[in-house]
């Protein structure tokens, strides 16, 4: 791929870097705060390549990647997700512990021009999470376009610590990915790109103050892992794993971050005013069974960054701010982690290459439990409140970042060895290494499946390499409450809507006081879904001011019976 251009490309890079002219100032995503968030997913464009045409992108509210959403633990938050793309989409809240029907997996498809309104109470610990599309077979394309963003949880425990938290000043978001641009500056939809993209910026630089700086690092790449470290070999301190603070900062000079994973790190620039250093990916050190460690010269996986070291961010150190943080804290949290003895059962999963199963999908896919994902096939019923060990045995030649929805887990072992201190905290992605010779690799983690049971909507587990996920390296489970009683009396899920005609709000009157809605959809006369309301609060009616005049059908799925019936109403001119 573009082999002839490589020497020219390298020459240009070297020339520009020597003159120090080629850096672009790091773009920092906007922020949203509060409890009610309007997210408008749009087709748009952005000037990502310095010269020439704009790149067609997807975005949320802005140009590329969405706003960084700040939420507080304990708050109930309402998301108003409007799809203004010319395509269907879903938005998954990666790492969030929430009801499956709010989770934004492949089943919660938002058609064009539809508003989806999930809400939930933040139960997660303070850490950096994210949101991104999860439409089956479309995840790679839609994430490549830039649909997604950071979701940062704050809580009292984190607030009490002396940590940097001035966003964009000493608390800096770094969304790592790579992109391939064609001759017209448009994205190619490929697993590996030729250019490192930090947030929305090629060849990024940023000024940081001479004090302790926190970087919130997300690997949002389609496939590539980043073996991050600094050009002067300095020590940095990992303070979070995916889903919360570690017990204490863990000193590192390199950290290998896989697709979907997040870490927050502290770097001490105190008394370094006027100096500079590069944050780099030391991917030349990666084995060829780790994403980004392969050295393909030809074919669909060939790229300029494979098995190479490359810059993520040029850091220029400037004057410190007022009231700077100047030291790394000794302790962060007193976490109580799950222990193997807590588990009620162990589930045995497998990861394999499909080459041994040619009847399934030819030789090109990777499989979980020897099958490809199907939207209507449920692999596991997990009893509510179960604590389970998931043991993944991989015979794949290649490593895979395994992600599970609903829970944060603790890694028990990777090939029989307890995890490094930096990975001993709450996690939602674990890298399952490729097999060694003929020896399969085995990863065990433990999780508690509490709070949210739903027999209809499943949670996903999958490889977070979007290409593999799209190709079917995914499965699903439901969490079921076996002790719950259900009212299945057909006369008791009757309801009416009023007033009719309705102008700004429509109300629902149930037949019995115990009734509630599992799902409400409002559909126009031509069958276009306008509003999707999972488990809506109905006391104050449903806001319909955004609807145009016309005839509408309200489809209500009863919470107990899960039966769906419809009522028709009119919105007058």
């Amino acid at each position: 791929m573009k082999k002839k251009l490589l020497p020219l490309f390298l020459l240009i890079i070297l020339t520009f870097n020597a003159k120090g002219q080629s850096y672009n100032n790091l773009w920092i995503p906007d922020t949203l705060n509060g409890t009610n968030f309007n997210l408008r997913i749009i087709d748009t464009f952005a000037q990502i390549v310095n010269t020439g045409n704009q790149t067609i992108t997807g975005a949320i509210n802005g140009k590329f990647w969405g706003p960084t959403i700040f939420v507080n633990k304990g708050d109930q938050i309402q998301m108003n997700v409007q799809n203004k793309l010319k395509d269907s989409v879903t938005i998954h809240w990666h790492g969030m512990h929430l009801p499956a029907v709010m989770d934004g997996g492949p089943h919660q498809i938002i058609p064009p021009n539809t508003i989806w309104k999930p809400y939930w109470t933040i139960k997660n610990e303070a850490a950096t999470y994210w949101y991104h599309p999860h439409l089956h077979e479309m995840a790679m394309e839609q994430i490549t376009k830039g649909i997604g963003g950071l979701l940062i949880v704050r809580d009292a425990k984190e607030k009490a610590l002396a940590l940097p938290r001035k966003y964009g000043v000493d608390d800096i978001p770094l969304i790592l990915s790579d992109r391939d641009f064609n001759s017209s500056n448009q994205f190619s939809i490929v697993p590996y790109g030729d250019s490192m993209l930090t947030n929305m910026t090629l060849r990024a630089k940023y000024d940081v103050p001479a004090q302790v700086v926190r970087f919130r690092v997300l690997n949002a790449a389609i496939e590539r892992s980043f073996n991050i470290g600094f050009s002067d070999g300095r020590t940095f301190y990992v303070i979070t794993s995916d889903g919360g603070l570690l017990n204490e900062p863990v000193a590192k000079t390199k950290y290998l971050l896989h697709a979907g994973e997040r870490i927050e790190i502290l770097v001490n620039f105190t008394n370094q005013n006027g100096s500079n250093v590069d944050l780099k990916a030391y991917n030349s050190l990666l084995g060829n069974n780790i994403p980004g460690g392969e050295n393909f010269v030809n074919g669909p996986f060939a790229n300029f960054l494979g098995k190479k070291d490359f810059n993520i961010l040029r850091i220029n150190v400037g004057a410190p701010t007022a009231n700077p943080i100047t030291s790394i804290p000794n302790t962060l949290a007193a976490n109580t982690y799950l222990k193997a003895a807590d588990a009620q059962l162990t589930r045995l999963l497998t990861i394999s290459d499909s080459s041994g199963f040619p009847n399934i999908l030819g030789p090109n896919a990777f499989l979980i439990n020897r099958k490809l994902y199907k939207l209507n096939y449920n692999e596991y019923n997990v009893p509510l409140n179960n604590t389970e060990i998931w043991q993944i045995t991989s015979s794949s030649i290649f490593g895979h970042p395994f992600h599970i929805h609903d829970v944060e887990f603790n890694i028990l072992s990777i090939n029989g060895v307890a995890p490094d201190a930096s990975q001993a905290g709450w996690k939602d992605v674990v890298f399952v290494p490729g097999r060694t010779g003929n020896t399969n690799s085995v990863v065990k983690f433990i999780a508690k499946f509490d709070d949210f049971a739903d027999p209809l909507h499943p949670f996903m587990y999958h490889c977070h390499i979007a290409l593999h996920e799209d190709e079917g390296m995914m499965g699903q489970f439901v969490v079921t409450n076996t002790t719950a009683t259900r009212n299945l009396d057909p006369l008791n899920d009757h309801f009416n809507v009023y007033p009719n005609p309705a102008q700004d709000r429509i109300f629902i009157r149930f037949n019995s006081p115990n009734q509630s809605a599992y799902y409400v959809k409002i559909i126009d006369a031509l069958g276009r879904t306008k509003l999707m309301l999972p488990q809506p609060h109905l006391e104050n009616g449903i806001d319909i001011h955004s609807l145009k005049a016309g005839i509408y059908h309200l489809l209500l799925t009863d919470q107990d019976s899960k039966r769906t019936s419809s009522r028709t109403f009119v919105k007058p001119e």
Binding site: I42, D43, T44, F45, Q47, G52, N53, Q54, I56, K84, K86, D87, P111, P112, N113, N182, S183, S184, Q186, P191, E223, P291, E294, F296, N298, G299, P300, F301, D353, S354, S355, P363, N364, A365, F366, F398, L467, H468, E471, L526, R528
Partner: protein, 199 residues
């Protein structure tokens, strides 16, 4: 990485190249078409007796990248109408899925952007299929040769959406060449923007 795809490529690529090369060799003929203008008049390529060719541009109401081109399309139309190369803009978006692409909203758009050219509604997407249009905005130049419309160019209007002053005007350059009885400078560029989904 996803296993070995080169074997599949070996088999498929010769087929694809075969198709491309055979279709390149023969001129593509576009049939006359008739569509409804935002003024509710039927506009037909067959009734433009003096036309040497047409600039046909697929746009829509809501695509942000297509929206950048309203002024440029007015300028192209103004320049080439008098040279007997009229510009026709066509909206082929699916109006069932995309409410904002309705005929009513096309009328609003034509008025607000002061379109000086016909803005036509390809309600059944047949004209777009005939051109094989993939995105909005995308431009086609058809030219009259032996009483047929021959496709001379397909692709982008120019090469810079946001900064017209920096752009190479592909369509204008090609029409200028054709008006001088010269071959087009480029017969194809990449078009991109919002995808036209076919029902």
């Amino acid at each position: 990485m996803s296993g070995n795809m080169s074997f599949t490529n070996l088999i498929i690529f010769p087929f694809i190249f075969g198709i491309l090369f055979t279709s390149r060799d023969e001129p593509r003929i576009i049939q006359d078409f008739t569509l409804k203008n935002v003024n509710n008049e039927m506009i037909s390529t067959a009734t433009y007796n003096d036309a040497k060719g047409f600039i046909v541009v697929f746009i829509c109401n809501e695509c942000p990248f297509a929206k950048l081109y309203s002024k440029r399309l007015n300028a192209l139309s103004a320049k080439y109408k008098s040279l007997n190369v009229p510009l026709l803009a066509i909206n082929s978006m699916d109006t069932l899925v995309y409410e904002d692409e309705s005929f009513k909203d096309m009328q609003v758009k034509a008025k607000s952007d002061k379109f000086t050219f016909p803005y036509l509604h390809d309600v059944n997407q047949l004209v777009a299929k005939n051109f094989n249009a993939e995105h909005t905005p995308s431009a086609f130049i058809i030219w009259k040769e032996q009483n047929q419309w021959v496709l001379k160019y397909k692709g982008a209007i120019d090469d810079n959406g946001e900064h017209p002053s920096l752009a190479v005007p592909y369509v204008a350059n090609n029409v200028d060449a054709l008006l001088k009885n010269k071959p087009v400078l480029l017969n194809e560029t990449l078009s991109f923007g919002c995808r036209i989904f076919y029902r």
